[in-house]
Symmetry: C2
Subunit: 192 residues, 2 copies
DNA sequence: ACCTGAACACCGTTCAAGT
DNA sequence: ACCTGAACACCGTTCAAGT
């Protein structure tokens, strides 16, 4: 079967899910595809470009946001989407690094995060504060994902550790999200 | 002059400041110290351990927080400290990655961030929410630092770009910080 | 105690040459 | 158009042997 860009990206995603970012090298990927390392560079310009595609793929399955969301539901939709993004990334090793890098390189490269920004706008955040608020939300999501994965590793270390488990990290995330949403109103970023 | 752990760390910091994380390899560091790569491993167990030391060193110069801060001043002190940390890291290439990695590996490894957590507690955040709120603040700081450095790179790319400059990123950071602080009260995390 | 020399097992990327 | 083979310039880490 001939190599295609989609196949390269899909295999990279699988490698990430199974073994993490450290084992997602261009050479390892080539071995998985039963091809020489140089062959990959016909379909993808660089590892950086590949990782941006991987990040997009990780969040491509999320149900899209309805086009027309009334302002009254925008904040709730925002909380829902942020929670869904966190849940989708949490089980993927090093997902926070991969998505964080893609978002830093090009904010529009990940659909779900573009939709998040749209909801921020529709919730009433003025245009000149949209980026700041979206960044705050994205960093909260990715920080929480990274944290949960770290707890998992630490817990695997000490056998019966009293470390915070996934559910507890998810609760902390919800608290932080609530703080942000309430803060938007209290700081008069949203005048409602 | 005999190599010491402090000298190794200080040289690593200098390398990071001047050339960024990509050029801070154990081998490059050894060359800078005029020593064989293996020699570094007598003073430091691994690159990971070295980077944790580097992260601590980057924020070691910050003025410490007074021990006894009344609750009425804790929130203001928190904003001040967060702003100072951001300002200290902003000019250091890849500082967000280095400090983020150290914070993820061991939350107590960076003094200034430990002090931030102390202020969160003294501001009235209950013990079981301290970590969540501190994480939110730390990720906001590091996210903003990473963003500003990205803007700088993007601006260096297109000559007279309309990209957001450092001052604008700093303003966005302040907005986010205000949202968080107000949100703490509005979400009744702090009952004041 | 502290360092050298040399090795082990890897990287990302490029590119002439083949099919 | 798509891929191989082979090279270039690197990595982090280990460890016997030297001083």
């Amino acid at each position: 079967m001939a190599l295609t860009r989609d196949h390269v990206v899909a295999t990279a995603v699988e490698l990430l899910r199974r073994y993490g970012l450290a084992d997602l090298s261009m050479r390892r990927l080539a071995r998985e595809l039963e091809v020489q390392p140089g062959a990959i560079y016909w379909h993808v310009a660089s590892k950086q470009e590949l990782l941006v595609e991987v990040a997009a793929a990780l969040l491509a399955e999320l149900p899209g946001v309805r086009e027309e969301v009334p302002q009254s539901e925008a904040l709730a939709g925002l909380v829902e989407l942020a929670t869904a993004v966190r849940a989708a990334l949490a089980p993927v090793p090093d997902a926070a690094d991969v998505v964080g890098m893609a978002y830093a390189a090009e904010r529009g490269s990940v659909t779900a995060l573009r939709e998040l920004r749209g909801l921020v706008g529709r919730a009433g955040v003025p245009a000149d504060a949209c980026d700041a608020v979206t960044d705050l939300l994205v960093h909260h999501i990715l920080g929480s994902v990274a944290l949960e994965q770290n707890e998992r590793l630490a817990q695997a270390g000490d056998a019966g550790g009293a470390g915070r488990d996934g559910a507890e990290v998810a609760r902390s995330f919800a608290v932080g999200l609530e703080v942000i949403v309430r803060g938007l109103v209290a700081a008069r970023v949203i005048t409602s």
